[in-house]
Assembly symmetry: C2
Homo-oligomer: 196 residues x 2
């Protein structure tokens, strides 16, 4: 852990314990008492940093997005659709070495399908945003004539995200049976005339 001031270090430790707990037993089943015990802070110490379980969830999701973004935008940004998809493949490669990151989203995104879940709107918005970025990438590739002739671009955004999500579930259950990056590349090879 970097050399943070004590309060920040404590906050980071709590976030790490919550990250693990939410990704293992889910948000609803995770207990604030257990999370506090896992990182050796008192209940009062936990509530000082995160007054409610919802606020802890929000912080964990923000951190997860930050990790993704740092990985995704390493080396700058561009409007190039092929570049975008290549970054996605790299992100999958990165996640394939970090089961905790994968598990957090796999567990929370399906748990959050219930409208009463505190992360329901977060995931609705997140998926809508991801679909919109992917539509832009596939549209760019279509305009540049880089989709195979029989490929319909409509819905590729939904399909690509579905593939990523579904791969995670199978991979978490049986890591040896599922090569996530290879499957994403194979999917793209049937869509594109060039390799992502």
């Amino acid at each position: 852990m970097p050399n943070y001031p004590k309060g920040e270090r404590r906050r980071a430790e709590i976030l790490e314990a919550a990250f693990d707990a939410f990704g293992t037993v889910g948000y609803r089943n995770a207990s604030m008492v257990q999370i506090a015990a896992d990182c050796g802070v008192s209940r009062a110490g936990l509530l000082h940093h995160f007054p409610t379980k919802e606020s802890l969830l929000e912080a964990v999701l923000k951190q997860r997005d930050r990790i993704d973004n740092e990985q995704f935008f390493a080396g700058g940004t561009s409007d190039d659709g092929l570049d975008y998809l290549t970054r996605m493949v790299r992100l999958v490669e990165h996640n394939a070495a970090h089961p905790g990151i994968v598990s957090l989203f796999a567990v929370l995104s399906s748990e959050a399908s219930d409208p009463g879940h505190p992360a329901h709107v977060y995931f609705q918005e997140r998926y809508a945003r991801s679909r919109s970025w992917l539509r832009r990438a596939f549209r760019d590739l279509e305009q540049r004539g880089m989709l195979r002739p029989h490929v319909q671009p409509d819905g590729l955004d939904v399909e690509f995200l579905s593939l990523l999500d579904g791969l995670q579930v199978q991979w978490l259950l049986q890591p040896d049976a599922v090569d996530m990056p290879a499957r994403v590349r194979a999917f793209l090879s049937r869509v594109l005339t060039e390799v992502a």
Copy 2:
């Protein structure tokens, strides 16, 4: 509800309540007391039919498989790969009208990625079986020359299942944004020379 004897009817009512509870809040967070209350049986009545929460989970998963199988094998079976995939598309069409069925598996399969979950082995075995059936279907199609020339058959089993699982998560979150059967057909149209 059909005209079952009282004990069977009671059992069916408990299963229905458990099906809803597991599909909404997950297995771990579901409460036996709440499930009993939801279907108006006493705690003793519930425990008479299902002595443990695990036994209730097992019965719910068996029922879910029975629903799938009845739908899938309606009209007999065959070794024809194209027929197999066409049945899968019909199953997706059927499930798209039954959110409860979709939600149960989406929530439980990701919750069960934790090795400590009582349905962990159930889902490992279920996915392994589904992959093996799909491999057989795609192999049959390959041998009959029905895969597009650039398509590699290896891994199509994993990809196809991932697509189904991931579509369910997005569809549960935003039904209007996701046409599950259309996306499955589009995926297959990029794999096959004929329409499934």
